[in-house]
């Protein structure tokens, strides 16, 4: 009997502690459709495909993303790039590009595998629909996806983790900075280095934002 009361009290104390904590740190339930919480910068949601500066497609249809995809969510058919009206920069291009959102794990391996830096992960997470077919995104939608993401910037998944620095292209510059900071973080872990603080400092760093803008052509 007493033990039961003790346990109950313990639970109440925890609840009350969190109640006070939430009030103190101003954390309340967001009124979702009206209000949207800002996603963390590395949130990884729907895939999107990238263009070159001259609006040719970055994807060359090498299917390395499809190869690495653990859940077989990507399907690509290549074709010969017509010389008179080139679609991309390579000899081949992706004639069909299908991303199956129902199968995707959002692991970001595809972004990592892409040799042309054609795939990015956006912050589009509102994909709910009542038709199964709508969850299967085709090439057109994937190229448009970047525009639909509520003014937020697309995410580069852990791109650049395994690349040599001198081989990095511009979009990876961002990841490199992250990577450096991350290394620092792991070094200083437990020494009072705050993860949240790291993000804040990163976003405040103007240099980063410039790189960001340059890459996205904004």
């Amino acid at each position: 009997m007493l033990e039961g009361l003790k346990a109950m009290l313990q639970g109440l104390i925890i609840t009350f502690k969190h109640f006070l904590l939430n009030i103190a740190t101003n954390r309340f339930t967001v009124q979702y459709p009206k209000k949207r919480r800002k996603l963390p910068d590395r949130a990884r949601w729907a895939l999107s495909l990238q263009w070159h500066e001259d609006l040719t497609e970055r994807c060359v249809g090498c299917q390395l993303c499809a190869a690495i995809c653990p859940s077989e969510a990507i399907y690509i058919e290549g074709a010969v790039n017509p010389l008179d009206s080139p679609v991309g920069k390579g000899e081949r291009y992706a004639m069909t590009w299908i991303w199956d959102a129902t199968r995707c794990l959002y692991c970001g391996f595809c972004v990592e595998a892409c040799p042309e830096e054609a795939i990015v992960m956006t912050k589009i997470y509102e994909m709910a629909t009542d038709r199964r077919e709508d969850l299967i995104w085709h090439k057109e939608r994937l190229y448009e996806a970047k525009k639909q993401q509520f003014g937020e910037k697309p995410t580069f998944a852990w791109m650049g983790f395994y690349r040599k620095r001198e081989e990095m292209g511009k979009p990876i510059e961002l990841a490199r900075i992250w990577h450096e900071q991350e290394e620092k973080y792991y070094k200083n872990r437990g020494k009072g280095f705050d993860m949240h603080d790291r993000y804040k400092r990163f976003l405040l760093d103007e240099r980063n934002i410039e790189v960001y803008k340059e890459d996205l052509g904004e």
């Binding site: 060359v60 249809g61 090498c62 299917q63 390395l64 499809a66 190869a67 859940s71 077989e72 969510a73 990507i74 399907y75 690509i76 058919e77 290549g78 074709a79 010969v80 390579g90 000899e91 081949r92 069909t96 299908i98 991303w99 199956d100 199968r103 040799p115 042309e116 299967i136």
Partner: protein, 809 residues
């Protein structure tokens, strides 16, 4: 047994074995580029260098070209070997472009693999790389010389195995360039093998170009249905079944179920060794074109009614029940199972023997080979080409069963005497592999006999192999049959012009003993005695001579049922069209020309509503009150084993395919069971006189229109391929340049041929292999209805009227 020391341990070896063989057998990893087990040793790439100590002297030796000697010490993993592998790879990669994401071979590239295993991580080469232009060398192949590592595999294959003369090596050293002359197309029917022979992506196929990547592909081991050789192939598809076995559906498209990505050769030392012809390799795009999707029934007003299977089969069965005298003609393109089902429908359910697969002009009462030899089959095998001292070929092998060409070339290189008896020079006599013995059109038999008597000395006491196509003069066939029956050292290889003819004969799809053959069936249709005709996978209007008879026959038959995959012209005359599967969609067995019964796995999902032919026959048998309870092709075959005696001991469905991985390079010998044909028959059988009237000499003076097979245009499936269009000469008649000049025609001219008061518009193409006086038309009659005037293989041309200027066909 002699021994060598391999990496410190003693290994025994057979005399004459190379170090590479021993190392691979012992499981050591020795990388190679220029070595290929089926090609002569070249030893140029230096990738397989191993450290060897012999008589106290150490050095690097190429493992592929060094024969093991007793007391040799070999290291495949010493520092010196590793340094050699490292340096050779660095040098090979100097010029190799880093376009792996673009390259078709990426993922199945030897260079990629070996670089990952042994190579340097980065290049120290700081200068611009050597570059060449991409070369287009024909409708099948693309060359990317920039990627080439000059291993010479292609040249070695093309010169020694394919026997081609149009593959050259230009320049030398760093700038060595492989390929045909400028602006020339490859002209060898084995050219597709270059894609497989190339260790990287320097030679790629156009059918596969950029469509997908190797890791997306499922390779289905099966048999090529294109010709009666039955070449073993891998059919590569992206998806074989609509749903994978697991709970998830892979992302993809429905169209993939009906699309073959590419076809590759599969090793079978008895039949095709490793190599397949371009017809086997590139004939797969027809699978989506012009297909019949669901059963179609003709309504009374002549329009098509798209039906379902139950309705259609019920209606057909009702009509078949009513029919007094039904008949079936076929093109021998189905599987043995389907042929057996058809036989059961006719011979056991309807109790009528009106079934035949031969062309009408060849549908004789007596099979000339069976009448003389005792059984309707060849008694030699394809492998006999490698043993024979003299090979006598009647007909154009390249256009009928091209796959045996590699063995013919090899026989010629080995020193065997080859003769080709044909009205015109075909490939082997033109390229110098064989001696051409001209045959006069109309006097074939006499020329054949006089050839034999003239060359008696050369043939005496030699092992002779006759290679003769089954549509050549029956008198020649019976002559050879008699000769082979009496002479033990003489063998016969009967080339079947229809793919599964041997299987159809074996399972009893033939009118014997009292049925009607194709000619009589068509005659019966014409005069109304046959009231129900089934046309199964044959296009009589395109394949048979004497088109008017065929048309009249189809018109006069009350009920024509067409079992076909494509909307071909004979469907116009049909009362019902049932869609059947194409060969790669159907499981079953096929018997090749020498009697191997081989299992064909289904590589694709059946197109829309199409069904295998045996299923349709089974449904008809059930609806007509017969007994057929097969659930799969395997069930049908187990019944065939009970009924057909030669097939009693066969188990083609129990086939084990070896892995298609690196060890595949080590030659393997597969045991394939062959149909047992009693050799007793040969000695007990007394050859009866053949019942054809003694051949009369019918020489035509002047211009002869002569029909011949064509490797692509003559094939029921291959000519539908968009890829092969450049090699398919539509509306073309071949003449010799002298003949053309005499008529005042240029190459590519449009003319009107007047034959038997009918006019046909054709293009003229010069071909120096054809003797003067002969005008050769090749392949099916889908573009020019010349079979309206051709009652047999040749006819006289009455007049040639030039029309307009030269227009290239």
């Amino acid at each position: 047994m002699p021994k060598i020391e391999l990496n410190g341990r003693e290994v025994e070896f057979r005399e004459g074995e190379t170090l590479l063989n021993i190392a691979w057998r012992e499981g050591e990893n020795v990388p190679v580029f220029c070595y290929h087990p089926k090609l002569p040793v070249f030893a140029g790439c230096r990738m397989c260098l191993v450290e060897v100590e012999m008589r106290g002297r150490k050095g690097l030796m190429p493992a592929c070209g060094t024969k093991a000697m007793d007391g040799m010490k070999v290291w495949t993993n010493s520092e010196a070997t590793k340094f050699a592998q490292h340096s050779v790879l660095e040098l090979l990669l100097l010029n190799h472009p880093l376009d792996c994401p673009n390259c078709d071979a990426g993922g199945e590239c030897d260079l990629q693999e070996i670089t990952f295993m042994h190579g340097p991580t980065r290049s120290r080469y700081k200068f611009p790389k050597r570059k060449f232009e991409i070369r287009d060398v024909g409708p099948f192949i693309d060359l990317y010389p920039t990627r080439c590592i000059q291993c010479y595999r292609c040249a070695t294959f093309y010169w020694t195995i394919g026997g081609g003369k149009d593959w050259a090596v230009f320049d030398r050293g760093w700038y060595t360039l492989f390929g045909p002359e400028k602006d020339k197309f490859l002209n060898n029917e084995f050219s597709g093998n270059l894609i497989e022979v190339c260790p990287l992506g320097a030679i790629t196929g156009k059918d596969y170009k950029f469509f997908t990547r190797p890791w997306e592909i499922e390779s289905v081991p099966t048999i090529s249905p294109e010709d009666s050789l039955g070449a073993n192939v891998y059919v590569d598809v992206r998806r074989r079944k609509p749903f994978s076995r697991g709970p998830f559906v892979k992302a993809g498209r429905r169209e993939d179920l009906h699309k073959i990505i590419r076809i590759n050769g599969r090793e079978n030392p008895d039949i095709n060794e490793f190599w397949i012809t371009d017809r086997d390799r590139f004939s797969h795009e027809y699978n989506n074109i012009n297909r019949v999707d669901y059963p179609h029934l003709k309504t009374e007003d002549g329009s098509w009614f798209k039906s379902n299977w139950n309705v259609a089969l019920d209606w057909i069965a009702t009509n078949l029940k009513k029919a007094k005298n039904p008949a079936i003609i076929s093109g021998a393109r189905g599987t043995n199972e389907s042929a057996y089902a058809a036989r059961k429908l006719f011979k056991e359910t309807l109790l009528i023997n009106n079934l035949d697969f031969r062309k009408p002009h060849l549908a004789l009462k007596n099979d000339p080979i069976k009448a003389t030899l005792g059984y309707s089959s060849s008694n030699g095998s394809v492998a006999d080409i490698d043993r024979a001292e003299v090979i006598i070929i009647v007909g154009d092998v390249r256009e009928t069963v091209p796959g045996i060409g590699i063995r013919l070339v090899r026989a010629s290189r080995r020193g065997a005497k080859l003769f080709v008896l044909n009205p015109y020079k075909e490939r082997y006599s033109y390229e110098g592999w064989a001696e051409w013995v001209p045959m006069r059109v109309g006097g074939e038999y006499k020329d054949f006999v006089s050839f034999l008597s003239d060359r008696k000395d050369e043939l005496m006491d030699k092992s002779v192999l006759f290679i003769i196509s089954d549509d050549s003069d029956p008198n020649i066939q019976s002559f050879i049959g008699r000769d082979v029956a009496l002479n033990e050292r003489h063998k016969l290889l009967l080339l079947r012009t229809l793919p599964n003819a041997q299987g159809f004969i074996d399972v009893g799809f033939s009118p014997e003993p009292d049925g009607l053959n194709t000619k009589e069936i068509l005659e019966g249709c014409r005069n109304g005695s046959i009231d129900f005709l089934i046309i199964w996978e044959v296009e009589p209007l395109w394949e048979y001579f004497d088109r008017e008879t065929v048309e009249e026959a189809l018109r006069n038959t009350p009920f024509v049922l067409v079992l076909t995959s494509f909307w071909d012209p004979s469907t116009e005359y049909a009362s019902a069209v049932l869609p059947i599967t194409t060969p790669y969609e159907e499981e079953g067995t096929r018997t090749n020309l020498e009697g191997y019964v081989q299992y064909c796995k289904d590589a694709l999902w059946p197109y829309e509503g199409s069904r295998p032919a045996w299923w349709i026959f089974k449904q008809l048998i059930i609806r007509l009150g017969g007994d057929a309870s097969w659930r799969s092709a395997k069930d049908v075959f187990s019944e065939i084993k009970d009924v057909i005696i030669p097939y009693k001991d066969l188990d083609p469905y129990d086939v084990k395919y070896e892995e298609r991985d690196f060890p595949d390079y080590i030659p393997t010998i597969r045991k394939l069971k062959r149909v047992f044909r009693s050799d007793k028959a040969r000695y007990e059988f007394v050859p009866e006189e053949f019942e054809i009237a003694p051949p009369e000499e019918r020489h035509i003076k002047g211009r002869i229109l002569y029909w011949s097979h064509h490797i692509y245009k003559g094939s029921y499936w291959a000519f539908r391929n968009p890829l092969q269009k450049p090699y398919i000469h539509d509306k073309t008649v071949f003449v010799s340049p002298e003949e053309g000049m005499k008529e005042g025609l240029k190459d590519g001219d449009r003319v009107i041929l007047k034959v038997k008061n009918m006019e046909f518009e054709v293009f003229i193409r010069y071909d120096e292999r054809i003797p003067a006086g002969l005008w050769v038309f090749k392949g099916l009659f889908y573009d020019v209805p010349l079979n309206k005037v051709l009652k047999e293989r040749y006819a006289e041309i009455e007049d040639v009227i030039p029309v307009g200027d030269a227009v290239k066909s």
